[in-house]
Symmetry: C2
Subunit: 229 residues, 2 copies
């Protein structure tokens, strides 16, 4: 089988995914739900970050929900459900990324009108999720201070497709000799207008700014929905 | 296009890869080269681990060489070349794993008889590289103390296909509240007979045991080569 043939087939899969994602995007917009797709390497701390985000959003009266993707186990859904937010686990059984079809399937039975935010935690992978639109309004790439400042340059497709970068585990920055300026420069080299938040799910550093941003985005989106035809 | 059709095509790609990998394995064995395939999440510290391994092997008169895979940049090859060992960069340009064909191509011009070890540093990805045999004798899965003890359970295919697990950044274990026993139990749940080394490329912890193991494996392999028909 030729490489050209595989490329052609892959295009078909991505085209189908794009169509399903466009349908999801319309549903999210109609319901006034801010959908966010979280991508990172395994171990960056997506779940810890999301755990604190869900808990604090609920604390200020917001209504978040979450879908969480993993090859196996429902560990993450169980961790996140402690926040009190509705959470569902998606097990991909070997698939290295989430696809729009899985999102649609796992939303069944949920009334989107009941939520302000839908967080989608992707499978830990800095490569493959970049090609799969999940209908999100905002794509978030997370990067921990323990991973090295060069990751944006080495995995450009994922950082180039992200709207926001979250630097995680900032409490470990000093012990890891993390070079903040270099990391931010590398992020901006790949994606010049990317917004960067520096956070620690352990200490809560950076969360006030992050939560203010989220609530602002939701309000902006819902206000735009009201005035649009 | 049906999923069944894609699965069928994927099988074809893997079959071709397996054939090429079998050819590589024979070449490595004939030349008495111990080939090792290093897989992990991005940011686990594969390059720092390999940097110290190459330097110390050369210090004791061994002859290592390395191939290093990344989507983009030749940062890693430049870092590793400082050791004095022959190193070549493989840029996959978006491909999320190394394949046997890339290995064969990048070995061109090297006389394998001149080396005792060939280290192959895979693209940082805990999912896709698990399916691609590169002709290695030993597959090594690396896991850093910063990533969380549950990674073997969440990415079982990569840990299940590994012969050795290297726990990296052990110098950060305390500050990350790393649960060593839990991590080792999870590794053994997925791969009961896996050998585990706990290391720090920064302090050198665990390297004497790791290097002794490597030299022992090479000697065992070369002795077996001599007595085999």
């Amino acid at each position: 089988m030729s490489t050209a043939r595989i490329v052609e087939l892959r295009k078909g899969v991505l085209k189908k995914n794009d169509e399903l994602a466009a349908g999801l995007r319309t549903r999210f917009e109609d319901a006034g739900v801010l959908a966010l797709n979280l991508v990172s390497s395994p171990g960056t701390g997506k779940t810890a970050f999301l755990e604190r985000t869900l808990r604090q959003l609920r604390m200020v009266g917001e209504r978040p929900a979450a879908l969480v993707g993993d090859l196996e186990t429902d560990n993450d859904a169980r961790r996140l459900a402690v926040s009190g937010a509705p959470v569902r686990q998606i097990n991909t059984h070997g698939r290295c990324h989430l696809e729009a079809e899985m999102i649609g399937h796992h939303l069944e039975g949920w009334r989107l009108d009941d939520y302000d935010y839908l967080f989608i935690e992707n499978v830990g992978n800095l490569v493959c999720p970049s090609s799969y639109d999940l209908g999100e309004a905002i794509r978030i790439a997370l990067l921990s201070v323990t991973e090295g400042e060069d990751k944006p340059l080495k995995y450009p497709s994922i950082f180039n497709s992200a709207d926001i970068a979250i630097i995680t585990k900032i409490d470990l920055a000093e012990v890891c000799e993390f070079d903040r300026e270099l990391a931010c420069n590398n992020l901006r080299e790949i994606r010049p207008d990317i917004a960067i938040f520096e956070t620690s799910a352990k200490t809560g550093a950076g969360f006030p700014e992050w939560l203010s941003f989220l609530v602002g985005e939701k309000e902006r989106k819902q206000a735009a929905g009201v005035v649009s035809p």
